[in-house]
Every structure is written in C-alpha cells, then in structure tokens.
Amino acid sequence: MTDHENIEPKATIGDLSHETVDEPIAETTRRERSVRKHELNFGDAWDYAPAPESVKVNIDASYGHFINGEFTKVGGGGGGKSFATINPANEQKLAEVALGTAKDVDRAVAAASAALPKWRKLPAKERGKFLFRLARRIQERARELAVLETLDGGKPIKESRDVDIPLVAQHFFYNAGWADKLQYAFPGLGAGGAEPVGVCAQIIPWNFPLLMAAWKIAPALACGNTVVLKPAETTPLTALRLAEICAEIDLPPGVVNIVTGDGSTGAALAAHSGIHKLAFTGSTEVGKKLAKLAAERGDGLRLTLELGGKSPNIIFEDASIDQAIEGIIQGIYFNQGHVCCAGSRLFVQEGIASDVVERLRIRMQSLRVGDPMDKNTDVGAINSKGQLQKIEDYLRIGEEEGAELFRANGRALPDKGYFCAPSFFTGVQQSHRIAQEEIFGPVLAVQTFRTPEEALSRANNTPYGLAAGVWTDKGSKVFEIATKLKAGVIWCNTYNQFDAASPFGGFKESGFGREGGMQGLRAYVRL
C-alpha cells in the first residue's frame, strides 16, 4: 500500500463519511481498500501451537439399529445393507452403519407401540426420573459425546464441547422437570390431564445431530410418548451412543428406538401407519413432501416441521458496532453456517455500511479455519462433500450474479477433508439467488437499507421466517422492529442464543410448531 501513502482515506472507521452513500457498497469498499494506509497485521508472530483434543473414543466397526432396547446385527446372516459414515475433516471412514429398510422401520414402530401402554401409565415422576438419569449420564459422558460429534460431523470441538452437548443435557434436565408438572403447562385440564400422542416418528438433520435428537426425544418422553428416531445419514454416531446410554440407564425397551439410514428410511418411517406424530427438522423441500404425505394419510397424523431459513440480521447505525460484528460472525460462521436460523442476510444501514464491512473483513482475519479436533479451531469442516459442492456452487452463482465476494484467507485450508473459507458477498441485490436461497454454509449476503421501513420490508420479503436479529442501542427501536418482523425467533443485540426453556420454530416456509420451552410440549400431548 506504500504507493498510496499520500492519499487520504475517504471514509474510515469511527469517522463516518457520508459522501459514499450514492455508491453501491461493493464500489465503496473496493475504493477504500485501495487507499487504506494502515493495516492491522494478523500474522504468526505468536502462533498457537496445535491443541488437539486428547480424549479418544471407541467406535465400533459397524452399528445396527437400536430397536426394543437392543442393537440389531449388521450385515451378518440376517443380511441387510449398510453404508459408511465418514469424518468430513479427513474423509476417513469411521464406521459402517445399517441402512434401515421398511422392514426395520416396521420392527421399530412395533417396538415403540408395544412399549407405549406401560410407559404412558408409568407415574409421571418415574418418567421424570428416567429423563434425569439420561441427562446426568449425558453430562458424565459429555467429553466422549463431544469428540464423537466432532469426528462424525466436522464441527469444531470447541462448539460441540461448549454448546451442543451442554444443551443436550439441559434439554433432558428441563423436560425431566416437566414430566410430573404437565397440568401446569396446560392449565384448566379435566381429570384426564394431558395424554400422550402415542408413537412419535422423528427425523433429524446433520447440523446439530445429538442436540436435535434431544430436542425431539426429551419432550416426547416427558409427555409419555414412545419414539422412533432416524438420525441423518452423515451423522448417526452420537444418536447411536445415546441409544447406548438409554440401555445403560435401563430405560424400558422400546421407549426409544433408533433406525439409521438415508432418505428412503425416513420416507418409510413417515409413511408408516403405526405412527401418531411426525416431527421433522431439515430442508423445506423435504418438509413440503412430508406435509403432503401427512395430508394424504388422512388419519390425523400430527406434524411439526422445522425447516430452512434465510434469516435477516439488521444493523442500525446506532448499534454498538464492534458487538454487532460479533453477532454477524456468530450468526453466519457458527457451525460453518450449517444452522437453520443462521443470520445469512445482513442488512446494514447505509451510513455505516462501509464501516461494518471493513470491520467484518478485519475480524475475519482472526477466525481459525481447520482441524475440528483442534481446540482453537473456530470454523471446522463442511459436513459432507455434497454440501461443500452446494456451497461452492452458490459462491460461483453469487459472482456470476454480479456480487463481490470476499473470502477470509488467514491460513491455508487443510488438503484433505471438506473445508470452505468463511465468505461474504457485497453488492447483493434482492433478486440474487444468494439473497433468496438457503446456502447452509459460511456465506453471508450483505445488503444495505436507509430507513427502518425499508429494512423491515426487505427483511420480511422472503418465503422463510425462522429467525432474525436486530442491532441498535435504542430500546424503543428494538421493540418496534421486533414486533414487525415475521420470524419465530428474534434476537436483539445478540444472535444464535439457545436455551431449553425458550421455544424455537418458524413462520411460513420455515415450518410450524415449536420446540423447546413449555410450548415445545404442546406437540406431544392430547388435551
């Protein structure tokens, strides 16, 4: 930059110039980058030594389904197909996992049905005790579960250790407490109280494998239901470990059944006539198919869907900017952006847009991308080859549409495994696909607005409605904007905060039904 030393920067941090407002943000940032004199230097003057997680976990060569309290045999005399689950950080096979067939699903549903009468009649406080036991055992085996989650899914050990697994335990603890207090969750009930729905089929995604299992299983069991859960194809291992824990604490056989497999297994489960309730978390595309299927069944199958999102994160010019930057990072790069409520559309008020983009660029230089098992990794591996391909497609599409791409390039990405440098686009138009479609990766679309009304109308202009973020130092603005946003979860001056006591769910094509909190019990009871 020495050849530009005599040129004064036009707009700089903390000194916000308004002369740039007529230019698209991409133009502004490009120009500023060329005239900036003073760069922070995020090099390796004091590099952190590798800090690999030292806990080793045993992984069997193969896993069967967990049906009626026992693991089925894989391959063997009984035949049956299986598939490999791999570590996305090094592309190595971790284990062979049974591919569930309609027959397997049938056996699992039969086991759940058989277990139902006794389980639902169990005194509520006894059901609660089982859930407390599960929660405690999860805490005791937390490190092992965290390591397994990271190996199978690619998320940084820091996140599985500090976010996923503690929340898993919390969901079991929280719902354990509800088990004998359902009359207070649903006041005004007659003598019958809250009745369980029955056999619950639950199909979960790969972004928070064990946490999604906890979201589904804990309230179902607390309300007296039995469960058949199908974990995602790429991340079955922690659910299978949870099955082990169920057996370990002597949960009655058949109360929790786990059938591994791919989409065909999920389809067989959703179509099974023995289920009374279907809960699905995953893509909007599959969610729509399931809604159609539920309607066609005509048997009153209860359905909750937690689907995709393209959540807006709105930064007003009176926000605390450095903290908003943290919120942006947390919103889109947490868990490699594999978050249904990721803040993937950033709306910045025009007067601070170049400042925010500049600070974001600086902040991203200290994001550490790489080996998920290193305790200092901030952004781990993309969950699968297919997902990496999809993200890369969107990066190409964004550039073809005319948006300007910035990619964090602090350190070289590992040679093996599926990795994607955290990225954002400026100069994004509402019509661009990267502004409309869920990418489910570490890719942010930055747009600007001038007035609160404009921010609202553009933020709501999406088929989705899962989450939103509002950043302002002004309390009245928080409440005004939050009440007008069409989203199930709205975070103010923070993002991606989760708690078992807080309900979660969406509007529009992001699905319906709530999970977590007292509201999350509703889908699992007949009143």
Partner: protein
C-alpha cells in the same frame, strides 16, 4: 468525535471467548516469556522502602537467575519518591522506571500540584509517567477539562512516555470506558504512550471486558491515524493463565504489532511470580514438583 457505544453483554461474551483458546507447549513458553517482558513490576504501598525497591529492581533485570534466557521485565513502577532509587538500581539495564504521578491514586489535588508531581518524577529520572484522570470532572460531564488536563500532563512529561489511567472501576459502564479512552487518546497521546485501566486501588481493577473496550479504541485510532497507542491492564492479573488470555485478546484484536512491551504491559506485582513458576514447570517438562515461593521477594 463520534460517540461510540459498547454493548456489555456481547463485549463480555467476546472477551470470554479469548479465554477458550488453548495455549500449550511452545506457544505457552513463548507467551509466558512475552508476559515477563511486558510486566511493569509494581510496588505502590505506603510502606515501600528503598530496600524493597532495590530488591525488586534486581528481580526486574534477571527475573530468573537459573534461566538467563528469560527476558527482563519492561519497567519498575513506583511512587515518585522512589524513582531515584530505582533509577540507580537499574542503571546499565534496559528496564524502564515508571512512576505514578498526578496525585496518584485519587488525583484529587489542584492541577498545579499534579503537574509539579509529574515534573519532579520526570526530573528524578522516570522514563514513563502513569497519570490518573480526574474521574470527578469526567463523570460530571466536564470532559473538555479532562482533555486539557491530560494535554497539560503530556506536556509536563517531556520525552517520558505517558500512561493515562482511566480508573475504569469508577467509570462503571463500557460506554464511559470507551469515551474516556477516546478522550485520552485524542488529548495528545503520541506513539507508544498508553491508556491504562486502573490504579489497582479500586475494585474492580482490570478485567478482560474493560481491556477489550480499550484495545478497540486503540485499534480504531490506529486505523484512522496510523499511530500506535499502548494498553496496560493493571490490578487483578495474578496468574500466568490470565496473562495468556490477555495476550490472546491483544493478538486477535490488534494483531502481531502489539505483541511487544512497547505497546502492551501488565501492571502487576504478583503475576511475575506465577509466570516464572509456570516457566519453571515447562522447563522441567511438567514432571518436576516445584515448591511455591515468592520469587519477587526472594
């Protein structure tokens, strides 16, 4: 100057995130050595004696006689009365003498007295002056006066570097910490002058959150002007682990250029002891039991 607001919840969350970094083996060794070199070895007690200061100075030059590769500390920090003693004891070394001044720790004296205090300390040989701002004026909204006082003190320092103590424990909010940081920097601090959290006489003293807010003020000033101001958290940093957390925060907020005693210091009395203990453990391969003793007193 634009007033910058700081949201406490997210700032604290960010500050806490630095404590999650795992600093092991070679990184730990290098970090701890850096922490030694960044220490302002401090004694600020009414009962301070020339003898204690001389003993501290010997420790400052050779923190660990058993391991000559461990660097000297950055400075000895004393009251003005003991500057000459420290200066003599440190003669021939690169360790600076820092003196608190301006009616430390309260600053509740007429400006003339505070400036005289400063000049005497500089004349006695202080290389660095740690001043306190008038919190009364600042909190009552008379920020222009605070600005003028800092500028006058800067002038009184001559060629000595100035560290401006904000006494963040009395400012309470991050908004005010940020405002005081911006004000001090704008009042004429030049390259390698510092802003400093605390006197150590008020609780809470330095915290990760407060220091982060100050680092961000320094960062923004640098990006705007290219001038590098230093930051010195003081008080409450007692363990090697804490020191490493702060270094992580410096590295990830301001980058490599600030990983030098010229731009980051720890104001501490007992920290050095723990850092040397931990370095001793690393040297022994973590296998040897080391009895705990106060090397700064030894």
């Amino acid at each position: 100057m634009k007033t910058i607001t700081v949201d406490r919840v997210m700032a604290d969350q960010r500050a806490a995130s630095f404590t999650k970094r795992s600093i092991k083996t070679s990184a730990k060794d290098a970090g701890l050595r850096l922490a030694v070199a960044m220490t302002d070895l401090t004694t600020l007690e009414g009962k301070d004696s020339a003898e204690k200061v001389r003993s501290l100075c010997a420790k400052a030059i050779h923190p660990e006689p058993k391991d000559p590769t461990i660097p000297a500390v950055a400075a000895i920090c004393v009251y003005p009365q003991l500057v000459q003693t420290a200066k003599r004891a440190l003669a021939g070394s690169k360790v600076h003498v820092a003196s608190v001044a301006t009616g430390f720790p309260s600053g509740q004296y007429p400006l003339k007295v505070r400036l005289d205090d400063t000049k005497r300390a500089v004349e006695a040989g202080a290389d660095e002056i740690d001043m306190v701002i008038s919190r009364g004026l600042f909190l009552s909204g008379q920020r222009g006066k605070v600005f003028d006082e800092i500028a006058a003190t800067k002038e009184a320092c001559g060629s000595a570097h100035l560290k401006v103590i904000l006494e963040t424990g009395e400012l309470e909010t991050y908004d005010l910490v940020r405002a005081a940081s911006d004000l001090a920097i704008a009042a004429g601090l030049t390259e390698y002058d510092f802003i400093k959290t605390s006197t150590g006489k008020v609780q809470p003293a330095a915290t990760m959150g407060v220091t982060l807010v100050m680092l961000e003020a320094v960062r923004d000033h640098y990006l705007r002007t290219g001038v590098k101001i230093g930051v010195k958290p003081a008080g409450g940093i007692r363990t090697a682990k804490q020191a490493l957390h702060y270094l992580v925060m410096v590295k990830e907020t301001l980058g490599d250029d600030w990983l030098t005693p010229e731009l980051f210091r720890f104001g501490a009395s007992s920290l050095l002891n723990d850092v040397l203990m931990q370095l001793g453990k690393l040297r022994a391969g973590g296998k040897q039991y080391l009895a705990s003793y106060d090397v700064t007193e030894a």
